[in-house]
């Protein structure tokens, strides 16, 4: 059985777009954060697909780099979120409105 590579690419594009929409539309910081992770994983799928289509390993190596960076981002991101919301009830972006002008 074989699946055309373009299907994977289209799936990745759809996932990436859903991630973008999620970041722009959702107001819960944790969900926005998860949407960014989804965008990164859509990119990973794209890398692996292109890697198989081109018969080149570099794309799959790139995925490891992305995974490591995403993990580092999670650590810092959750750290920031925890330090802000330790004294609050919910994690809603609309509550953050001190900075404007």
């Amino acid at each position: 059985m074989s699946v055309p590579g373009s299907w994977y690419l289209i799936l990745a594009a759809v996932l990436f777009s859903l991630g973008i929409i999620g970041v722009l539309v959702r107001r819960n910081v944790i969900v926005m954060f998860m949407c960014i992770e989804m965008m990164l994983n859509a990119v990973n799928l794209t890398f692996v697909t292109f890697s198989r289509m081109l018969g080149d390993v570099a794309g799959q190596v790139m995925v490891f780099f992305v995974l490591v960076v995403a993990a580092a981002e999670v650590v810092v991101g959750l750290g920031i979120i925890v330090s802000i919301f330790r004294r609050r009830l919910g994690a809603t972006a609309d509550d953050l409105h001190i900075l404007k002008g």
């Binding site: 973008i20 910081v29 990164l40 990119v43 570099a58 960076v69 920031i80």
Partner: protein
């Protein structure tokens, strides 16, 4: 079994790329320095809250500067080269930016020390993170592969998210860190998707290979490639705060501590533009007709929006944020020219801006309200009568940013505009000059406030009232007067901040009067194609 052994014995040898440690010397120095700084504070708790970590960090930055300067001498003698399987490019462009970034880092560690000297926690962490983020900026400057650009971008940004939220007890600082983090992560994801699409279209992430592929092949249906290139531009446009991707900038500048902002404004901008120029000039020179209009539009919007919105700000830090957006527009002018001259002008501008902005924030640092991060313009009223020295240096730095003669501000603006004119971008050059006029207005407005007559203070708080305040039998009226007097009292800069201001003003004025040496360096700093 024997077959297996034979296969193991006679199998092909695995070749590794040669690692040239010389090519990543400044990065290694900074990483080792960051580890030393952080280990010192954790192994010797008595150094916490003292100047020791800051001194170590500043020495590390100086060492990295010396190494970058040596690389410049080597480059001038032996020319450019690629290293570590072509993932690092050491050309004039890279080394010029390495020098810029290490100088910025040195000033940043001093400014950090001024901020931390108020008896703050986490001295080692601040300085360690600052050195690590500088490593990322340097990787971006000398990258030869899109993977290295991505890694550099993330190393730079992740450390900066923490630095933006360093004022732990302040809600504003936390909010700034979160906003920077969400938009930074978002733009990194866009950038990464750009890399993936470019990889799919060209079959490589190596910049030299991409350029070689595009030069020898004509892609008939290049939708994937163009989408990839557009996403790469958008991802970096977020980092350098180009309109319409600038929305995080004012909030992050206002909420974060000035010490972080001063370093971030200079280093993140230099690194972001390094990545942008490297990608556009070195990887996509054949697609110039496709990316030039995008950069044109970004530059025009950035110049106009940055200047116009800066005029209506009443907070000095927000105004400086919009001014940094305006400066990004000027650098984009050199990018849009797409010539060697434009590239030189852009990196010269980044160097000049780095000196001006770190020194400006070294002054702003002393006026900042740590809780809200605000610096209302009114707080500067009458500064010249209270602190003539500070007011004078602030005025020099601001008029230099406006592009006054005898400063690097004018030389830099002249360089980018003349590069745009020689590339026949006349309309953009006119827009740039008009925005410079608007920008002059808001810089001079701050200077005018600082040199305006201050509010009356001596007459309000007369001697008897002071005495009453001391004995605690003070009327409400007297209390208010004392409060306003304490707001208007003399402010003294910490000694580290004085050094930063001295370096910044000296660099701005000396190289503004004698610009030839650095301009000549910038001319030599070509991108290796």
């Amino acid at each position: 079994m024997e077959h297996l052994l034979a296969a193991i014995a006679t199998g092909p040898a695995i070749t590794f790329p040669t690692i040239s440690y010389k090519a990543i010397g400044p990065e290694i120095i900074l990483v080792v320095g960051a580890l030393v700084v952080m280990l010192t504070t954790s192994l010797f708790p008595s150094t916490r809250g003292t100047r020791t970590p800051s001194v170590l960090a500043a020495l590390t930055a100086l060492l990295a500067f010396a190494d970058s300067a040596t690389m410049w001498a080597n480059f001038a003698e032996h020319g450019a080269y690629r290293a570590i399987a072509s993932s690092i490019t050491i050309d004039g462009f890279a080394v010029f930016l390495l020098v810029t970034i290490s100088a910025t880092t040195f000033m940043g560690t001093l400014l950090g020390s001024a901020y931390l000297s108020e008896g703050r926690f986490g001295t080692g962490e601040f300085q360690g993170l600052l050195l690590l983020s500088a490593t990322g900026a340097m990787l971006l400057a000398s990258a030869g592969d899109l993977i290295v650009i991505f890694l550099g971008l993330e190393i730079l940004s992740i450390a900066l998210y923490v630095l933006a939220g360093f004022e732990k007890r302040s809600t504003a600082s936390g909010e700034a860190a979160l906003k920077y983090f969400v938009l930074g992560g978002f733009s990194s994801a866009l950038f990464l998707y750009g890399i993936a699409l470019t990889y799919g279209a060209t079959g490589s992430t190596n910049i030299a290979k991409i350029a070689g592929f595009l030069a020898s092949n004509t892609i008939t249906a290049n939708g994937v490639l163009l989408a990839g290139m557009a996403l790469l531009i958008v991802g970096l446009a977020f980092k350098v705060a180009a309109v319409p991707f600038h929305l995080w900038t004012p909030d992050v500048y206002q909420g974060s501590p000035s010490a972080s902002v001063g370093y971030m404004a200079a280093a993140a901008k230099a690194a972001g533009f390094a990545g942008l120029l490297r990608i556009l000039v070195s990887a996509f020179p054949t697609l110039r007709l496709d990316w030039q209009p995008i950069i044109w539009a970004l530059a025009a919007l950035t110049l106009v929006v940055g200047a116009v919105l800066a005029v209506v700000q009443n907070d000095l830090k927000r105004m400086l944020a919009y001014s940094s957006i305006n400066h990004a527009g000027f650098v984009l002018l050199g990018v849009e020219a797409a010539t060697a001259r434009g590239t030189s002008a852009s990196i010269y501008y980044l160097l000049a801006y780095a000196f001006m902005v770190v020194a400006t924030f070294a002054i702003v640092n002393s006026f900042e309200d740590r809780e809200t991060g605000r610096v209302p313009l009114e707080k500067l009223r009458g500064l010249a009568s209270r602190n003539p020295g500070i007011a004078f240096f602030l005025a020099i730095l601001l008029v230099a940013q406006a592009g006054a003669p005898l400063t690097t501000g004018l030389v830099a603006k002249f360089a980018v505009v003349s590069a745009a004119v020689s590339a026949h971008s006349y309309v953009l050059a006119v827009i740039a000059m008009l925005s410079a006029v608007i920008a002059t207005f808001f810089y001079l407005r701050v200077v005018a406030v600082a040199y305006a007559r201050g509010p009356r203070r001596r007459s309000l708080v007369s001697q008897p009232q002071m005495a009453m305040a001391a004995t605690g039998t003070v009327a409400a009226e007297g209390e208010a007067a004392v409060a306003s007097a304490s707001l208007m009292e003399k402010i003294s800069l910490p000694v580290e901040a004085q050094i930063v201001v001295a370096i910044g003003v000296a660099g701005t004025v000396i190289f503004g009067i004698f610009p030839n040496y650095i301009l000549h360096m910038a001319d030599l700093a070509k991108v290796l194609l």
